[in-house]
């Protein structure tokens, strides 16, 4: 699980071009949207594509992302339970 969280943080930084943020600065339970990393709706679409491409998880309802993308911890748990890759 720790390795998956590390991988997710690295992918989020790379995919979303968060040039000024390091892996160490993203806490497992930090909110990704709003007051946390400050991601927006376009980032949510990027994360949906990342889930599909890297883990074989297709989100049919984008509203699900609101819950799944709450934090790296929540994302890692969801991916572990649902991954097909």
């Amino acid at each position: 699980m720790e390795a998956l969280k590390q991988e997710l943080k690295e992918n989020i930084i790379e995919q979303l071009n968060l040039e000024d943020i390091s892996v160490a600065e993203i806490g497992d339970n930090d909110p990704l949207f709003g007051d946390g990393l400050g991601l927006d709706s376009i980032d949510a679409l990027e994360l949906i594509v990342m889930l599909d491409k890297d883990y074989g998880i297709k989100l049919t309802d984008p509203k699900e992302g609101k819950v799944i993308f709450e934090s790296v911890e929540v994302m890692a748990n969801y991916i572990s339970a649902n991954r097909k890759k």
Binding site: Q15, L16, N17, L18, E19, D20, G38, I42, L45, E46, V49, D52, K53
Partner: protein
């Protein structure tokens, strides 16, 4: 009809031109056939949250526009008109590569959104809250001239009072490789400043953003007056005849031209038109060139327009730009001529204010 003035300028190029207090005093030379820009610190001008989705072309355009607006002491303009030959080619390459690599699956939105040609104009408008006319000309190496002509007509007809115009193009790695394959880029060069001595085919490529605010009222910051512009996709008569026709149509004579700014890029196959003008019609006129400083790109002529503006305002000509040994020291009328690979010829005439 109202007059058209260049009220401010800003340049980001392979030289340190973003500092407008200097005028090509410190020259960068490269032993490369593709010249990157000397970038300002973009973070000083663009918020990190906005900058993270911007490729270099957008950053260059946004920052150059901010510098131009600042110098003109304008917070907004009536219109934004951009010229770009290739638009946001980096994001276009990224998006198309993703389509191919992922078998048309997993397409992410950011590079698609940012890859359109009018992204720069859109980002500038969003930044300053400009809801006016916003247009992007994608006319190959006449893109900047098209934006200039559109702005000139609007200002002359009093349809707008202040217009931001700019020429912007960025280098894309894949696109540049393709140009290398078809020999549009020189195979090698020891010093980018020596392109005219290379005697080889192809050009040294570059990128950049040159922005200007134009207005129909003269200000203390005014650089020059835009007198005329004419474009030709292909030539139906000799370039000398067209130059004569253009100058005559502006109601002046060849002898009135104090300086000719030529877009020679050192491609032996296509520099003939430039050589014809420099050795015949303007043999007795002072001449300068600039693509050894900024490289060749579809809107490189906007760097020539920047150079002309600086020369007319400062009445000073940097030695590194000199093409012949004539040394006039005062400049009233400056003529620019540009073409790329024998197509998209343009004449632009500026006058000292």
């Amino acid at each position: 009809m109202k007059k058209v003035y260049i009220n401010s300028i800003a340049s980001i190029s392979a030289q340190k031109t973003f500092d407008n207090t200097r005028f090509l005093e410190e020259i960068c030379s490269y032993a490369e056939t593709v010249l990157p820009v000397v970038s300002p610190n973009y973070k000083d001008y663009i918020l990190p949250a906005a900058a993270r989705r911007m490729a270099r072309g957008i950053k260059m355009g946004v920052v150059a526009s901010k510098l131009a607006l600042e110098e003109a002491e304008l917070e907004n303009v009536d219109a934004i008109i951009i010229g770009t030959g290739m638009g946001c080619v980096r994001d276009s390459e990224k998006f198309v590569s993703a389509i191919i690599d992922n078998d048309e699956q997993y397409l992410t939105p950011t590079s698609f959104i940012q890859s359109t040609h009018n992204t720069v104009g859109g980002q500038i408008a969003l930044g300053i809250g400009c809801k006016g006319y916003n247009f992007t000309y994608v006319h190959s190496s006449n893109s900047f001239e098209s934006s200039l002509l559109d702005a000139k007509l609007m200002l002359q007809n009093d349809e707008a009072n202040t217009i931001l115009i700019g020429g912007v193009d960025e280098l894309g790695a894949h696109t540049t490789e393709l140009h290398k394959v078809v020999n549009h880029v020189k195979k090698n060069i020891e010093n980018s400043l020596d392109i005219l001595k290379s005697n080889t085919e192809g050009a040294v490529f570059g990128e950049g953003a040159n922005f200007f605010t134009l207005g129909n009222e003269k200000k203390s910051s005014t650089y020059a007056e835009v007198i005329g512009i004419k474009m030709y996709n292909t030539l139906k008569s000799s370039i000398s005849d067209l130059a004569k026709q253009f100058i005559t149509s502006q109601k002046i004579a060849i002898a009135h031209i104090d300086l000719v700014i030529l877009g020679n890029n050192g491609d032996v196959t296509f520099d003939g038109n430039y050589n014809e003008l420099s050795s015949e019609l303007f043999a007795n006129t002072q001449q300068v060139y600039y693509k050894h400083l900024c490289g060749e790109f579809n809107t490189a002529s906007s760097f020539g327009f920047w150079l002309a503006s600086k020369i007319l305002k400062n009445q000073h000509l940097p030695k590194v730009t000199k093409l012949n040994n004539i040394n006039d020291s005062s400049f009233k009328y400056v003529l620019l001529y540009n073409q790329y690979r024998g197509k998209n010829h343009s004449f632009t005439l500026l006058r000292k204010c």
